[in-house]
Amino acid sequence: MSGAPIGRWGPLSGTIAPMNVVVCVKQIPDPAAPAALDAQSHTLVREGKLILDDSDAYGVEMGLQLAAEDGEVTLVSMAPNGEVSGLRTGLAMGAAKAILVSDGALKGSDALSTAKVLAKAIERAQPDLVIAATESTDGYTGTTPVQIAELLGMPSVTFAKKISVANGSVRVERQTEAGYDEVECPLPCVVTVTAGVVEPRYPSFKGIMAAKSKPVDQLTVADLGLDASSVGWAGAGQEITGVAAAEERGAGELVVDEGDAHERIVAFLEQLKLV
């Protein structure tokens, strides 16, 4: 992980200070619609309408619940175009405002340059807590949130299946293969949430109407004080050299019971580390 910390705020002094939660959200092409890869860059074609990544809806909901009593949720997102429809969904759910970094120069950004941009934007919101999904539904690198934490000089807790905040720190039940760890971490920090953390609400029409007048602060790379050469294609430290179709699913294995079927099924599941 490179880059010096670019911001740090001390832990909350009081216990009842308003919670300022930033939720990182990604606007992605609708997974229900046919997807296409750009022939040259091998990256996902992101023309047209983008929607709020389903996996981010959990973070937005968690943020709203944590900030419900006294606080607010700011959405932070990045897009190569000025698309806001995914952000509108988050605002309709109840987020107070959004910051969208939108700049043609961002096209081709890899996970690290995305983290640099998002960290700069998050810094502006001065959050007590930053929530992100474990990974996006379209890119799946799963590395951006911890890079953001590093850049912001904040601790990070990943795979949260439960979050509560008290006395300037966050308590997280962190999903593991065997069960979960209980982790306590001082605020401000970055927490990534799994799909099980909360049940996201569907926006109401009142929420949808209210979202119309909520501020979406659109910023460019230059507004953030970043050099355009450090993001997008220019700044990318990785390149997709090729893509191949996923292997077709093979035929399943039929277990015929000859008295030992249960043992063979258990052995099969053990091999998959499912038991």
């Binding site: 609708d30 229900a32 619609a33 429809s85 509108r88 969904t89 309709a92 609400r201 569907y202 926006p203 109401s204 029409f205 009142k206 929420g207 949808i208 109407m209 119309k212």
Partner: protein
């Protein structure tokens, strides 16, 4: 699977489009996986209704001061269409809860009545029902035989009502009934009176064994000396029937939207099936016989959608919309029926098995040509609105 509707979205403003998409997502994610089971068991889906309540669907057309969403009738109809695209039982539960349960109270109720009932109805915690139809007659709604007489500070109601949606659920709070409260000349004077659930003398019969809409709640009701306070009169005494006719006019737009949802659901299912199912080495959708059928289904759906949205726009503008509402209801219920028939044919044997959605659509379509004014009544209304003489 979302492609067919998006073209018709262009005429919607961003907020209505987003609402439509939200309900579409809800129906696909929350309703589709579980509704078949409710349908089979003929069980009322309380948890889905609660989720719809939490989304504010039951408060869509009502102002925020009453617990509503500050939306409009178009918003309600969009939600109904998207629900019906997956399931008609939930769509009619919403349509009846809002259009027949809450709307008369909002339109004709006093401030106190609105305060008492609307917030819980808007949140979906409580359903209201409207009892107009009687066992003796459907389309001849004016031939009401249920009576209400004043006795001191009370109304005392006797009679019965038939096919009353949402009248027997655990969350049904109030049933507004039309009853004869006197005579003016040789015509009966009909008023609307609110009867809270559980009032002594009100008997809710076991649910009907219906052909379709199996996850919706429909009962026959009987009233034997049911006593409610005089203040439960809804609207003007003697105006009950006239009031209800207004509600019925806009209700036709909502039923048209519901029918379009079902017609669209048939298109959705057939597009999927025609791509997945192979016969003679090709997807069945590559055969022209099927392409023509599906193209016709799309045409009917699109035209019917334009018809109900046009009627809804007239309603929103406050200009006469009666004829357009009848046209929409007629065209849309025809489209639903024809699409359900074609979709079942495309599915073949699978369409004759109850656990496929198209089988549900087939069973749910027929009532659309009957409820909220039969197709024959719609034609009479259109003819009358054109100035053709009455006389039958």
């Amino acid at each position: 699977m979302t492609a067919p509707v998006t073209g018709d979205d262009m005429e919607l403003d961003a907020e209505h489009r987003e609402l439509r998409e939200t309900v579409e997502r809800f129906a696909r994610t929350e309703v589709a996986p579980v509704i078949g089971d409710y349908y089979e068991r003929e069980a009322f889906p309380y948890d889905l209704v609660a989720a719809m309540g939490a989304m504010g669907l039951f408060g869509l057309p009502f102002p925020e001061e009453h617990g509503g969403m500050g939306g409009d009738y178009l918003a309600l109809c969009l939600a109904i269409e998207e629900l019906a695209r997956v399931d008609s039982s939930l769509a009619i539960t919403l349509e009846a809860g809002v259009g027949l349960g809450a709307m008369p109270i909002y339109r004709f109720g006093t401030d106190a009545q609105r305060q008492q009932w609307l917030p819980r109805m808007c949140s979906g915690e409580m359903l209201g029902a409207f009892g107009l139809t009687e066992p003796g007659g459907g389309s001849d709604a004016g031939a009401t035989r249920t009576t209400a007489r004043r006795d001191g500070d009370d109304w005392v109601i006797d009679g019965s009502k038939a096919f009353i949606t949402n009248s027997g659920t655990d969350i049904t709070g109030v049933i507004t009934v039309t009853a004869v409260t006197g005579r003016s000349g040789d015509r009966p004077e009909i008023s609307a009176i609110m009867v809270p659930s559980g009032t002594p003398g009100l008997a809710v019969a076991p649910p009907y064994s219906k052909v379709g809409w199996l996850a919706s709640d429909t009962h026959e009701l009987s009233f034997a000396g049911v006593r409610v306070p005089a203040g439960n009169l809804l609207g003007e005494k003697g105006r009950g029937y006239a009031q209800f006719l207004q509600i019925l006019d806009e209700g036709r737009i909502a039923i048209a939207a519901l029918a379009v949802g079902l017609a669209q659901g048939c298109v959705d299912e057939c597009l999927r099936y025609a791509a997945d199912r192979h016969a003679f080495g090709r997807p069945i959708g590559s055969y022209q016989a099927l392409q023509f059928k599906i193209a016709d289904m799309e045409v009917r759906t699109h035209v019917a959608r334009l018809a109900w949205r046009h009627a809804a726009r007239l309603l929103a503008r406050g200009v006469p919309f009666k004829r357009q509402a009848s046209i929409a209801k007629l065209v849309a219920s025809d489209a639903a029926m024809a699409n359900a028939r074609d979709a079942t044919q495309i599915f073949g044997g699978a369409g004759f098995v109850n656990d496929t959605p198209v089988a549900r659509f087939y069973r749910d379509a027929k009532i659309l040509e009957i409820g909220e004014g039969t197709s024959e009544i719609q034609r009479i209304l259109i003819a009358r609105d054109l100035g053709l003489p009455g006389g039958e």
